[in-house]
């Protein structure tokens, strides 16, 4: 009779579970009272600041709360797309220029223009860093309000530079070309040290036993190379596509790009950079902080990673290429889900996110450069208080033609996979840039036929 007791016990346990579950299942159904908006973002570093905004917003708007979910960049878009396909996407999400057109094509994000027309005072466009709001406009429809912006620079280990006898001031004016790498490659060579203490520019340098790599490239960089290759390729005269935004014919077969990729891959062959197939799960910045690397590129959105050791690192603008100095400038926005059941509340939240009230809070943490100019300045000041000089990232805004907008187009997810695979195959040495890239380009252009 043990069985009977066991079965009965299992039955009771199950019944209890079912009850417990059904009890805990009623959430999110608008029962007239409180509205819980769902909001998604990918950067965990920005989470505390936006949580603060959400709390302030909820306090100012009784009856509306905001639930923030954070998913890492690696799975953010797949996750979001799945939820969109499922009809259960968050009411508002952080959007990126190269990914949002897909949602427009699928009619999954809300045009905010009618809301603006009905409520013209909701947003003060004069407060923004100029140009940011235009990224989100397609044919008179507006799919987002400016949230922040970012550029790319270099971060260098000061001690490594001193040991290599490099003058810190010279690092702000490096030159680069794909043939001999310019002064940029000279500095990289000097910063590289083998286990015997020979620097990379020393004939005795042993590239098989490197202790400190002069440069740490980023190879997982989608179809834009925002963190490294895109910037260098642009400064070498490469353009992504026929028109931007909404190009439909791409130039990944350009020799200007191939020679850029070859140059970066060549750093590993010379022993100045770690081999692609020797990568760790450690991020480039962590490798730098551990002392195994001396220089890498860094986005303005990652500068705060160095706050604990601000005195040990130097930030510089990217090197000047044959076509001048070029940094990707990218902006983010907040998008409203077309299937949201709480659009009026979502609009309130979006305008709050786009307002100086929230952006000043975010700016004060220094974690990113908000789109509102005053908040951006506050962010630079906050970084200065932490001992981090942000001028390398802001310098581009005063130099003419030194920024380029990352491509905005359809099929962003597929392109990212195709182009990144091609570039990584070059980094691995399994393919030549001159074959891999034209092949990838053919695949990319086929998406638009």
């Amino acid at each position: 009779m043990r069985m009977k007791t066991a079965l009965r016990a299992a039955g009771i346990a199950t019944a209890g579970l079912v009850l417990a579950m059904t009890a805990g299942c009623s959430s999110g159904s608008g029962d007239g009272g409180d509205v819980a908006l769902k909001y998604w973002l990918w950067d965990d570093a920005q989470l505390p600041a936006y949580q603060q905004c959400a709390d302030d917003f909820a306090a100012a708007n009784p009856g509306i709360t905001v639930e923030i979910s954070q998913y890492g960049w690696g799975e953010y878009w797949t996750n979001l797309a799945t939820q969109v396909a499922a009809g259960s996407a968050p009411d508002v999400w952080v959007d990126q220029a190269s990914y949002y057109p897909q949602f427009v094509a699928d009619k999954q994000i809300e045009d905010l223009q009618p809301y603006l027309d009905a409520d013209p005072d909701a947003v003060d466009f004069d407060a923004y860093v100029s140009g940011l709001e235009d990224i989100w406009v397609i044919d008179g429809a507006r799919y987002g309000l400016p949230k922040d912006w970012d550029t790319i620079g270099l971060v260098i280990d000061k001690q490594a530079a001193a040991d290599a006898g490099i003058d810190e001031a010279s690092l702000a004016d490096l030159t680069w070309n794909p043939d001999d790498g310019g002064t940029f490659e000279e500095v990289i060579a000097k910063l590289t040290v083998d286990k015997a203490g020979h620097h990379g520019d020393d004939p005795a340098f042993d590239k098989g036993n490197v202790a400190v790599y002069g440069f740490l490239p980023e190879w997982a960089d989608g179809s834009q190379g925002q963190n490294l290759w895109g910037n260098l390729a642009q400064s070498n005269g490469f353009t992504y596509s026929d028109t931007n935004p909404f190009g439909t014919s791409f130039h990944y077969d350009s020799p200007k790009l191939a020679e850029t990729i070859d140059w970066i891959a060549g750093l590993s062959d010379k022993g100045y950079a770690p081999a692609f197939d020797q990568q760790s799960t450690l991020s480039r910045h962590e490798v730098l902080l551990s002392g195994a690397g001396a220089m890498t590129s860094v986005g303005s959105f990652n500068q705060l990673m160095f706050q604990d050791r601000a005195a040990d690192y130097l930030f510089a603008p990217l090197p000047t290429g044959p076509e001048g100095r070029k940094s990707a400038i990218n902006g983010l926005s907040d998008a409203m889900y077309a299937g949201s059941k709480h659009k009026d509340e979502a609009w309130k939240w979006i305008t709050y996110l786009a307002s100086a009230d929230c952006q000043d809070v975010v700016g004060a943490t220094g974690v990113i450069f908000p789109a509102v100019t005053s908040a951006s300045e506050a962010s630079v000041a906050a970084r200065a208080d932490l001992g981090l000089d942000a001028s390398a990232f802001t310098s581009y805004t005063t130099e003419p033609d030194s920024t380029f907008l990352i491509p905005i187009n359809y099929h962003g997810t597929e392109m990212a996979q195709i182009v990144q695979d091609a570039i990584q195959s070059v980094a691995l040495g399994t393919n030549d840039a001159t074959t891999a890239l034209p092949d990838a380009n053919a695949k990319v252009n086929a998406l638009f036929e």
Partner: protein, 294 residues
């Protein structure tokens, strides 16, 4: 089974008994199968209605080099994983059978099988990390070069295969062990009286009598092996480039990253066909190897 003379049918009672099973089958097996077949002839993005395109998907898949790459990668995985797993499991089962009957040992060997593949993948990703992994630290201290287990395209599939061998070899060994217990004790005694050593006894007695179980386990592990997903999803996401993009992962990507549902359904159908042929061939072999134990 000899059918007994029915006194009367149990139709109505039977319906009560099989209703849940039938319902489950109809809703979650039969209906999706029909639907998946239909999708394979359509262009379907999940966001709009499926659009009939005839055999386009089939033509596109067969012309897709990534599809064939995925098939090749999967095959490489299956061969390494099933091969190593079966051999090691046989050895372990024989040792457990002849050396020790300890339940504690068998229980311990089963532990990796009980652990989710996601956890297994994570733990090994950590153990084998190029800079921080224990294994590469050992190599380093021995003066050997570091090995990019998950980042070298030539090593990534062998690495993942052997990780899953680690996870499933104990389970497989226990299945073989159970089979060995079925071999009548007299046969071992007879072999011992004939003066056969352990090795000879294994090859002359144990292995031939184990063939049916061996074949069954092979069928099951092959089919399971083709469906590798979790470990890849956690460790490499199909990389570097496409060196570990196994077929399940590629189907998943096409369906839930690029939203080519029709395309993904087509690949799934082709996979079903391939597995069906494999299973059929193996069952034939299985039948051929039966009737050893009489």
């Amino acid at each position: 089974m000899a059918p007994r003379r029915p006194r009367r049918g149990d139709g109505r009672v039977a319906l009560f008994f099989i209703a849940p099973v039938l319902l489950g089958f109809a809703i979650f097996y039969l209906y999706p199968t029909v639907r998946g077949l239909w999708w394979s002839f359509t262009d379907y993005s999940l966001l709009a209605e499926p659009e009939f395109v005839g055999l386009d998907n089939y033509a596109d898949v067969l012309a897709d080099s990534e599809f064939w790459n995925s098939m090749g990668v999967t095959l490489q995985y299956v061969v390494i994983n099933v091969g190593s797993q079966t051999l090691i499991a046989l050895l372990l089962a024989a040792l457990m059978h002849r050396l020790t009957r300890s339940v504690a040992l068998r229980t311990t060997l089963l532990l990796p099988w009980l652990v989710p593949n996601v956890t297994v993948g994570l733990v090994w990703l950590w153990l084998l990390d190029t800079n921080l992994g224990f294994v590469n630290r050992m190599f380093d201290s021995m003066g050997l070069d570091k090995v990019g287990f998950f980042t070298d395209p030539n090593l990534v599939i062998p690495t993942i295969s052997l990780i899953n061998t680690w996870a499933f070899v104990g389970y497989t060994a226990l299945l073989f062990y159970a089979g060995m217990l079925q071999v009548p004790q007299e046969m071992f005694e007879a072999a011992a009286i004939d003066g056969a050593g352990e090795l000879r006894t294994f090859f002359r007695v144990t292995l031939p009598l184990l063939r049916p179980i061996l074949a069954l386990v092979l069928v099951v592990s092959l089919i399971g092996s083709f469906q590798i997903f979790d470990t890849v999803a956690v460790t490499t996401k199909g990389g570097p480039v496409n060196a570990s993009r196994v077929i399940y992962y590629y189907i998943y990507q096409q369906a839930f990253t690029f939203f080519h549902m029709g395309y993904a359904a087509t690949m799934a159908i082709l996979l079903v066909l391939i597995l069906g042929v494999l299973t059929f061939v193996q069952l034939r072999l299985l039948r051929a190897s039966e009737s050893q134990l009489t």
